[in-house]
Symmetry: C2
Subunit: 207 residues, 2 copies
């Protein structure tokens, strides 16, 4: 029995592992995911498509593929999205091509999707990919409201609507494997890192 034999018994890196990170907007999820990917080797960000307007500093092809309603509809029609959903009037989707692009490079993948997208992914799965579901949330709704106000990119009415959405989203936490509460960013990133490490140590089905 060689060293390679034992290593092959665990999931390891670059063999089709994807982390679906979801949760309320404004909880610091994007920042934490960027820090995670910068810190953990073999991990890459799956860039989603969206019809929403770029926020200041967001780059096409890096944060999102920013597309028109027509372009988005064409990808849907071609059956090239694994999941797509509407969130606060804008459309978001994860393309098959994006996941294939990353797994072909032997990278584990981080998917940043809204809760509806996560629910869809849990239901339909992704062929050849093992999914781990992480709910990333603020420690409390009150704190989330404060953060959204500090960000200053939404009106009070939009924030109130967002908090209503979040209260509803929290009811779906049961479909997730892990819950990270972002009270402190460094701790939250450390927790995400532990989840990635642990999932890579999982024993693979020998069947």
């Amino acid at each position: 029995m060689s060293s390679d034999d034992l290593t092959s018994l665990r999931r390891g890196t670059g063999r089709g592992l994807a982390f679906v990170v979801s949760g309320p907007s404004g909880a610091g999820k994007n920042t934490a995911i960027s820090a995670l990917i910068a810190r953990v080797p073999g991990l890459a960000y799956s860039v989603s498509h969206t019809t929403r307007t770029p926020r200041p500093g967001e780059r096409d092809g890096v944060d999102y593929y920013f597309v028109s309603e027509e372009e988005f509809a064409a990808i849907v029609a071609a059956g090239e999205f694994i999941e797509h959903a509407v969130y606060l009037g804008d459309r978001y989707g994860t393309s098959k091509a994006e996941i294939a692009r990353l797994t072909a490079r032997s990278l584990d993948v981080v998917l940043n999707v809204d809760v509806q997208g996560a629910i869809t992914l849990r239901r339909v799965g992704v062929p050849g990919v093992t999914l781990a579901f992480v709910f990333f949330a603020p420690p409390s709704l009150a704190q989330l409201g404060e953060r959204l106000r500090a960000r200053g990119s939404e009106s009070e009415a939009e924030i109130a609507e967002r908090l209503r959405v979040v209260a509803r989203e929290m009811k779906s936490v049961g479909i997730f494997d892990y819950l990270v509460l972002n009270g402190d960013l460094a701790t939250a990133v450390e927790e995400l890192r532990a989840i990635v490490m642990a999932e890579r140590l999982c024993v693979v089905d020998s069947a």
Copy 2:
């Protein structure tokens, strides 16, 4: 929705979580477990009972409860072991009282049991306790043989027998959740720590 509400949605610490660490003797498991417990708050070692002779440096009540064949048989007869097994002619057991002692102090528990004990625990479970199963192994059988010889506490015949046992034990890796390969002690301890962190972040069943 308060901060406490969200925290209660994940498993957390001191709520009946136990890590069953098993695998070949000589893989460095005891050393790694000691380092893990020293490093991670809220974690305690479940001291097993054994009829085997103490090795140099081993302390009663710390490494094991060293008991006679008669004392061991009495605990078996009283139904006070969760699991017990024979390994290389000596008897080992995990007592209900030991687990209760630790969980009553709101500690997560590390159980250090042989593979047969882990198989039993996987089958019977422990009431009120969530078990995570970790197989702790050397990177290769060849390296394990070297380590056993370096330890010098067994004869060549005993080492040969041990390696036969290990080859058989490796076939049970499929019942474990995680596989840690101890090529480097610091890395192995870091991996154990990630497993503990990740298990504490698991979403609890809301049912």
